[in-house]
């Protein structure tokens, strides 16, 4: 079986992108401004990350006009939800793999001759 680090997805491993996908998976859809405020990101930063995630096929971006004002809605795709589940599983595996090593008692030193 491969090491869990090899199963981490570079498209969503970055913290901001992980946050974007997590937020998108928790709701049906969320607009750009709400997502920006939720994650404390700047407009430009969020746009770049959204483009990366859209390129990977993990989110769907829908640009609409409401009351003559542009509004961008973001929704997670099925592939995005699966990718997030895999990422969480891999991260949990990494944490769990280190847990027994941390719990194991220190090897006793051999007595001096």
């Amino acid at each position: 079986m491969s090491h869990p680090t090899t199963r981490l997805d570079p498209a969503i491993h970055q913290p901001a992108r992980l946050g974007i996908l997590t937020a998108a998976c928790e709701v049906k859809r969320i607009d750009f401004v709400s997502l920006r405020d939720l994650l404390d990101l700047t407009d430009g930063n969020l746009s770049r990350h959204l483009a990366t995630l859209e390129g990977a096929g993990y989110i769907k971006i829908d640009k609409t006009f409401e009351s003559r004002r542009p509004r961008t809605w973001i929704a997670a795709t099925r592939a995005g939800r699966s990718a997030l589940e895999r990422e969480i599983a891999a991260l949990r595996e990494i944490v769990d793999a280190a847990a027994p090593a941390r719990r194991a008692p220190a090897r006793p030193r051999s007595a001096p001759a």
Binding site: T5, L38, L91, A98
Partner: protein, 232 residues
């Protein structure tokens, strides 16, 4: 091959190994990348996105993974709080219980109460839809559905136990929403309100009075939650 050779040395290493087509190899076969990582020193002169990604991932310690998981649950909690709006839900549910209790006390007539229920649902639906659009976030159906399903189940149990089904249902729904949104104290306050109302009804108090008491408790919990959310 020595570890961490200089730039020119690294280029020489690649030439010495028959000019390995690193980019092509990585694109076509991911395993090749892993093997290269094991056997060659990774240098900045090697341009391979897959290999760089592999290096980034291999640098993930359990501390970093735990930090990512914490970040993830914090984002999830914030998104759920924004989606479920537990304080608003508690205020609305408390208002429903208080209005229902007051009407039942003032004029205990089933037809009037039914008309009030239907009117409330009809009036509130478009308001809720508009509010949701303005909020810039549409909640997934899963979470409200879970809250409603558990509330209905608890209401059925409370009928069997002789308590007020309305009090049990609204208190459970509010408490569950607050709990899912990561507000355990508010959830506990909502549960205590519901249990107090139910206990008083079970001891012989009029169900309408129990609804008033539980509704007031839910309103207080909702106000406390709103104050907490406002304070960050």
């Amino acid at each position: 091959v020595e570890r961490q050779p200089g730039r020119d040395e690294g280029r020489a290493d690649r030439d010495a190994h028959g000019g390995v087509q690193v980019d092509a190899a990585c694109q076509s076969e991911h395993e090749m990348c892993l093997s290269l990582q094991k056997n060659f020193a990774i240098q900045s002169t090697v341009h391979c996105q897959a290999m760089q990604a592999e290096l980034d991932r291999s640098a993930v310690s359990h501390h970093a993974a735990a930090a990512r998981l914490r970040h993830l649950s914090e984002v999830r909690r914030r998104a759920r709080r924004a989606a479920l709006a537990p304080s608003s839900a508690l205020l609305a549910l408390g208002a429903v219980a208080v209005i229902h209790g007051a009407l039942a006390l003032a004029w205990p007539h089933a037809a009037v109460l039914s008309a009030v229920w239907v009117g409330a649902v009809v009036a509130v639906r478009p308001v809720l839809r508009r509010a949701r659009r303005r909020r810039g976030l549409e909640a997934a159906r899963r979470l409200p559905f879970v809250c409603a399903a558990v509330a209905v189940a608890i209401a059925a149990v409370s009928v069997a136990a002789g308590a007020s089904p309305l009090v049990s249902a609204v208190a459970t729904a509010g408490a569950l929403a607050a709990s899912l949104a990561g507000m355990p104290a508010i959830a506990a306050a909502a549960m205590v309100s519901g249990l107090t109302g139910d206990a008083l009804v079970a001891q012989g108090l009029a169900p309408a009075a129990g609804e008033l008491i539980a509704g007031a408790g839910l309103l207080a919990a909702g106000l406390a939650g709103a104050a907490r959310e406002g304070g960050g």
